[in-house]
Symmetry: C2
Subunit: 274 residues, 2 copies
């Protein structure tokens, strides 16, 4: 496999440049050393970044691949003129055609937070994170009616990371509730959830995988035994089927895929960008 | 302001398409209705997505702006031929030039999770999230030595959301510890942290902003009073200065900016992509 260095250069955090660059690089069989250079927002910092990139070029005798999201035209120009890497100018490539289509100039503003204190978006996000932490693992029934989604599923089916992801990325208030042997005996959802059926979404998981995960935490326990995992998963799935709760299996899904599927099914209106 | 509809179309979750598209759209003064269409991974789903997009075009008499991250060549071709929106083909635009530079073909694989059970990346991420939740707000001193970072700061300075973000996005084990009046009286960091000074990073915040945030939770309390916030922030800052702990002010920063700055300063090697 070929070896290359990839740089993600941004005048902001570089998170978008990195996510996008990684998605592109994943299309190739490459050994890539990856370096993110955030906050390159002055001419000086641009020259410094270019020195580092050009140094890689000299060492490796291969053009570094440089993904940039730069809005400052001076910084852009310095990259265009001096960078010996292969520059993938992500903003330039799309902003110019859009200016033509919209008949408007872009304003070259860096995607940076400036006035957090007045930002409703920011306080909604904080509230969502606090709510979600306080409602993790059935900890609290207080104010369940304010939840955007209530995740249910057996212990270790992926509820906590999914809840936190939805809160962090979509400012959603998420409660999550474990389905436990008592619920299976009663053959009913936890009583606090019955009036909120429309908000429920179930997570399930392959019993073999569940047993593996539980064995990492409590090796050799009844809780982790394959037999018990099979029973719990089967009971949980029939309960969700019976009560008409939508659900998905997390076995082969990333947190991002689980979260996207939940949004898509439960609240398609939230599939709009923030 | 002009009105448009923007679509983010992907054969995966569409998270990257949306993040990138939003960054581009933020360069314009536009009222944008945003729609994410994830999992468009078959010819049928491509035609369905295009029907929806072309319907917007007919209703609005303006080309919808369509950001795509599609790796399947059949699906790409259907978009190129039938979509009446302005298609910003994010993969096509960069993958082809890269194929030339690398002298290699891309393999058109969808960025999707397939074998979670064998993925070390996945289990590291879960472990980081569990660790971080268990070590939120000074809850536990167990295994503090395993932390990648320990955040310190006064109550409500942004430690919890930053910790969760670092765990979720970078699989970092993060502990966070409140600095409380007792610490200020002793004029020392919490004792459990003294041997771990190299892992510490401080968050501070403008006292006026802190008082606002605390007043939302406990209106009119001494805890939230501007006078008390001024005292706590000043004590915390002098303690960090005295003990040589790096720190930043969260007042005008997003969680992403705080996290990027911490990574950049404390563990630059982690600025590499996952």
């Amino acid at each position: 496999m070929a070896n290359r260095t990839a740089y993600f250069v941004s005048d902001g955090t570089g998170i978008t440049a990195e996510a996008f660059g990684n998605a592109i690089l994943a299309q190739f069989d490459l050994n890539v050393r990856k370096v993110r250079l955030p906050f390159v927002d002055t001419v000086d910092k641009a020259h410094q970044a270019i020195r580092q990139i050009n140094h890689s070029f000299e060492l490796e005798n291969n053009k570094p691949i440089v993904f940039t999201t730069l809005v400052n035209p001076d910084v852009q120009a310095i990259f265009a003129q001096n960078c010996k890497g292969m520059v993938m100018d992500m903003f330039g490539s799309f902003v110019r055609p859009l200016e033509l289509e919209l008949g408007a100039k872009s304003h070259h503003r860096i995607g940076r937070f400036t006035d957090i204190s007045k930002s409703k978006e920011y306080s909604d996000r904080m509230e969502a994170i606090n709510y979600t932490l306080a409602h993790d693992d059935g900890q609290s029934n207080t104010d369940l009616a304010s939840a955007d989604v209530i995740l249910v599923g057996v212990s270790r089916s992926g509820k906590t990371p999914t809840s936190l992801y939805l809160a962090m990325q979509y400012s959603m208030k998420v409660a999550n509730y474990p389905l436990i042997p008592e619920d299976f005996e009663r053959q009913q959802l936890p009583p606090a959830l019955l009036p909120l059926k429309k908000k429920l979404f179930g997570l399930t998981i392959d019993p073999e995988r569940l047993s593996e995960i539980r064995n990492e935490r409590r090796p050799g326990s009844r809780y982790a035994s394959l037999q018990n995992c099979r029973m719990e998963v089967s009971e949980a799935e029939s309960m969700m089927r019976r009560t008409g709760v939508s659900w998905l299996s997390t076995t082969t899904k990333s947190i991002e895929e689980i979260s996207t599927t939940i949004l898509h099914e439960l609240m398609p209106e939230r599939m709009a960008g923030r």
